[in-house]
Amino acid sequence: MLEKPDFEQTPYELKRLGNLGKALEGYAVEFATALDKKSQFLAEECFNQMLDIVLMRYMQQKQCFPNKQSLMTQAQHELEEVLSNVFDKTVAQRYVRATSSEYISDQMARCESMLFPRGRGKVRFSVDPSWLVSEEEAFSHPKQA
């Protein structure tokens, strides 16, 4: 068990301790700050962590999605909601890029190949998204032309 440190915890520590809500907010702040500083690498890293936490929460809640697309759409919606909620109106303008649907869509598209690797590629997120998709979708055959 991790000992609770006696200082304010980082998003990394919060995630390791299982405090997913606070970790998600922490990474949202880091994501927007990284964009503000034009640090693309850190922004993408924080976005990856946010998506990882959303998938972990779906797993904890035993949520099942009818198909991959609905999983991606719901995850994007949740991330947009977190990002718009974490900033109050006084600072939202500064972080407008972090909260724009278009930018978040771009990030989700980037993550899709990591979420659903072709062939036997390893999924490096904490939760394999195929676990969250119903069996029917997992075993579905491609549609005939």
Binding site: S39, E45, Q49, R124
Partner: protein, 214 residues
């Protein structure tokens, strides 16, 4: 129980990094440059071994319970001529498993390495941002001001030639950092390969090879 820390450090221009990674001769030159840095390493600086289980829980990729004892048992077993399948040391090899047939737990080795790497970077007043989802690095840390991002790879072993392993790991990591730099040309990055050598009696050597990419 002691951690002996050796540190090697040097700068590298982003443009030079691109040229060095371009082809085989570039990588040969880069390998020599890294070897030269390691030859000028500073140390050892000795530290008392921290609570490794705490840092295993904090930084380990895999779950372990008392990896230190796991490795200690391996070293203890190797002191005897052999031991029974039940793990009892015995001087009678025909009934025993021989030490050469026993391998240490790779999970324990890797996790101790990650734990000590995280501990070491905290000693430098750095804070962990994440274990990256993408392949290429083990840990991402930032300095106290949040200005320098340190991308780290960890290698742990109880075998020889840690410096050779560090050089090869550094080239792989620099290729990853090279791609990061293309994406993010403005921010300063440090590329850090940390090698942990696990010795008997829970003593460790920690070798840090740090390249400041500017």
């Amino acid at each position: 129980m002691i951690i002996a820390v050796y540190e090697a450090r040097g700068p590298m221009a982003k443009t030079d990094l691109g040229k060095a990674l371009k082809d085989r001769s570039g990588k040969t030159g880069l390998r020599q440059h890294l070897r030269n840095l390691l030859n000028r390493k500073v140390g050892p600086t000795n530290y008392n071994t921290p609570n490794i289980q705490f840092f295993e829980d904090k930084y380990g990729e895999q779950i372990t319970h008392d990896a230190v004892q796991d490795i200690a048992k391996f070293f203890e077993s190797n002191r005897h001529r052999g031991f029974t399948p039940g793990g009892i040391p015995t001087p009678y090899p025909p009934l025993a498993i021989l030490p050469r047939d026993i391998k240490p737990s790779n999970t324990a080795i890797a996790t101790i390495g990650e734990a000590l790497a995280g501990w070491y970077l905290e000693q430098l007043n750095m804070t962990c941002l994440s274990r990256p989802i993408s392949e290429g690095a083990d840990l991402v840390f930032r300095d106290a001001h949040g200005t320098i991002t340190l991308i780290s790879s960890v290698k742990a072993t109880q075998g020889p030639d840690i410096e050779g392993r560090l050089c090869e790991a550094a080239i792989d990591l620099l290729e990853y950092v090279g791609n990061v730099v293309l994406m993010d040309p403005v921010s300063p990055f440090d590329c850090s390969v940390i090698g942990v050598v696990i010795r008997p009696q829970s003593n460790y050597d920690l070798h840090s090879l740090r390249i400041e990419v500017r």
